[in-house]
């Protein structure tokens, strides 16, 4: 177990180093003038371009810039935003709570809806409720998040104005729970609906596979109640692929729920990314990219650990 963990963590660090290198090359490789021009934007005056070249040391050889970049990264220094002159790490930390609340709230919702729906579907395949769920799943995966979001705002503002739900910036629940909920409920549902559809499908498929296995027949043969067979024996084993997907999804989303955050005007990592891309704020873009990758790497490690708990047949070596 420990050897496995250490190996995965070392491997994860190598992946992050590769990501950092790729991002660096993507933005800094090429003639200094081109790079400075790209950062300044096509309409910036030549003095600004020269100034950027100067402050960033774009004239230095590429390997020198690269090692400077890696050195700063190792010290946890992600640089300073061109636009707001704030350290990138501060900007990211400011935006993180909005994204964290959004993702975790939505994750709870979509796991309940998705796994619940999948189990309901799989215990009675081809029944009316299974077919109804299949149609709902198709609707869920076919609704683009930004369309669903705008639709929800439209409904909340013009059709059901009494609900008090409204789009708006993130407010900490420790300051004002009411305001927190009124801005968060819609993004939670919006994100969860799209995700839940995928999970219903995944859980259903996995449950159907598992319920045909020998150990389920054994459990039934020894007189375990059907309810217990479904949940204790079936669902537990069937959750393995669901957990994989869950880990990857949460990891990816923590790196910025770009669409949902923007549609609802929630200040999170996704909004920070959009803003920095619009402004050409390179340090923030690079910082956000590396952080997003780190979340995915960490999520993958956690998923592998979770395996060994869920499925007794899996032993980590």
């Amino acid at each position: 177990m420990w050897r496995f963990l250490i190996r995965r963590i070392v491997f994860g660090i190598v992946v992050l180093w590769l990501v950092a290198t790729t991002v660096f090359l993507l933005f800094f490789a090429g003639p200094a003038d081109n790079v400075a021009r790209r950062l300044a934007g096509p309409r910036a005056p030549i003095e600004v371009v020269e100034q950027i070249k100067d402050t960033l040391g774009l004239d230095r050889p590429l390997y020198e810039q690269y090692f400077g970049f890696l050195g700063n990264l190792l010290r946890g220094d992600l640089g300073t935003s061109f636009i707001s002159q704030t350290p990138v790490s501060t900007l990211i930390l400011q935006s993180l709570p909005g994204t964290l609340w959004l993702v975790f709230g939505a994750a709870v919702l979509w796991m309940i809806m998705g796994v619940g729906g999948g189990v309901v579907s799989a215990t009675k395949p081809r029944s009316l409720r299974d077919r109804t769920l299949t149609v709902l799943v198709l609707a869920g995966i076919s609704l683009p998040t930004f369309v669903l979001g705008i639709l929800m705002i439209y409904l909340a503002l013009s059709v059901f104005p009494g609900t008090g739900l409204q789009p708006g910036p993130y407010i900490s629940p420790f300051i004002d729970v009411g305001a927190f909920l009124s801005t968060m409920v819609m993004p939670w549902i919006c994100l969860a609906v799209v995700q839940a559809a995928v999970y219903v499908r995944l859980t259903r498929g996995s449950m159907l596979d598992t319920m045909g296995e020998d150990f389920i027949r054994t459990a039934r043969a020894k007189g375990v109640p059907e309810r217990s067979v479904t949940y204790r024996h079936g669902l537990r084993a069937a959750l393995t692929p669901v957990i994989t997907q869950f880990g990857v999804d949460v990891g990816t989303l923590l790196g910025g729920v770009v669409v949902t955050e923007s549609v609802f005007g929630l200040q999170g990592i996704g909004q920070l990314m959009i803003r920095s891309v619009r402004d050409g704020d390179l340090p923030v873009i690079i910082g956000a990219a590396i952080m997003a990758a780190a979340f995915i790497v960490i999520a993958n490690i956690l998923v592998d650990v979770a395996y060994s708990f869920l499925d007794p047949r899996v032993r980590l070596a």
Binding site: S142, I150, L202
Partner: protein, 309 residues
């Protein structure tokens, strides 16, 4: 059957798929009662999806030609007007005809979606088949690249790089670059199973060069998997393109996409709903159609793939 979960875990690291005899439709065994009956290609829902998709494609190709307005036209007597005989979909705040704009957006989104899906699936087939056939360092290198691209935040990179290019071809290349990885892993898994089949061995012992075996014997036999995955990739590509265009990082003016139209219409959706709903409705219809076809193909060819890949 008892090996399936086990297989699912172990193969995640090694082959990506469990070896299963039923992965490909067995065309030698009749599906229906009569021995001469060929297996049906589509179910009722698949046919419905195909019909809707054909209709939308025809609309996208022919529509803009038949409408008397063009994308650049401005009707200075109708700003933000609801649908009328003159403008069946209404007009934008600057007097543009929404019917022609929506149809052009549909055309662009459909085109980008299809081109990206075909290109991404081609890349996936080549990378996966070469990695799975050669194994060893070829496999390790290709899978490193695959895993790295899976970790890179695609939206951010595509948004940054594409904002430097106004060309929609550049957008296609970028979207392709971030869309082939999952399919490649699935292809690799199937190839690892396939490389031990008799016909591949026979070709090898006959002295056929390896790259030729991959291109002539392995890839063609993956056709069913690839067709199903390409279709799923179409809806993913359309969603990715429209989301990027929604933020202004996708297709650049004067080109329009359903995503950019939805973004333009969203602020006025409350009091001028026609600026938003036509584009939104067509986008949903398009994705539903592609998903209906894709689900059908996937159920036919490969019921367990998504769960493992």
């Amino acid at each position: 059957m008892s090996a399936s979960l086990w297989g699912r875990f172990t193969t995640r690291a090694t082959t990506g798929l469990r070896p299963s005899a039923s992965r490909f439709p067995d065309l030698s065994t009749p599906v229906e009662a009569r021995p001469e009956a060929r297996p049906r290609m589509f179910s009722a829902t698949g046919i419905a999806g195909l019909a809707l998709l054909s209709f939308l494609a025809a609309l996208a190709v022919l529509g803009p030609i038949l409408v008397p307005w063009t994308a650049a036209d401005r009707d200075f007597e109708a700003f933000l007007q609801p649908p009328s005989a003159n403008h069946p979909f209404g007009t934008t705040a600057s007097g543009g005809d929404l019917l022609v704009l929506t149809l052009l957006g549909l055309r662009k989104s459909l085109l980008i979606g299809f081109v990206v899906a075909v290109a991404a699936t081609t890349v996936a087939a080549l990378v996966g088949a070469f990695a799975g056939y050669f194994l060893g360092w070829v496999d390790r290198t290709l899978m490193w690249v695959t895993d790295l691209l899976l970790v890179l935040p695609a939206f951010l990179v595509v948004a940054v790089v594409s904002s430097g290019h106004d060309d929609w071809i550049a957008l296609v290349v970028l979207l392709t670059a971030f869309m082939w990885m999952v399919t490649a892993k699935a292809v690799r898994g199937v190839t690892i199973v396939m490389r031990d089949r008799e016909y591949v061995k026979a070709a090898r012992f006959m002295g056929v060069p390896s790259h030729r075996i991959v291109l002539r014997h392995v890839v063609p036999n993956l056709a069913s998997l690839l067709v199903a995955d390409a279709t799923v990739n179409v809806s993913a590509a359309i969603l990715a393109e429209t989301s990027l265009s929604y933020f202004g990082f996708g297709v650049a003016p004067p080109d329009v996409s359903l995503g950019s139209l939805i973004a333009d219409g969203a602020p006025t959706a409350l009091y001028a709903p026609w600026t938003f709903w036509w584009a939104a409705g067509l986008l949903i219809a398009l994705i539903v159609a592609v998903n209906l076809v894709g689900d059908d193909l996937r159920d036919r060819f490969d019921p367990a793939l998504r769960a493992c890949a």
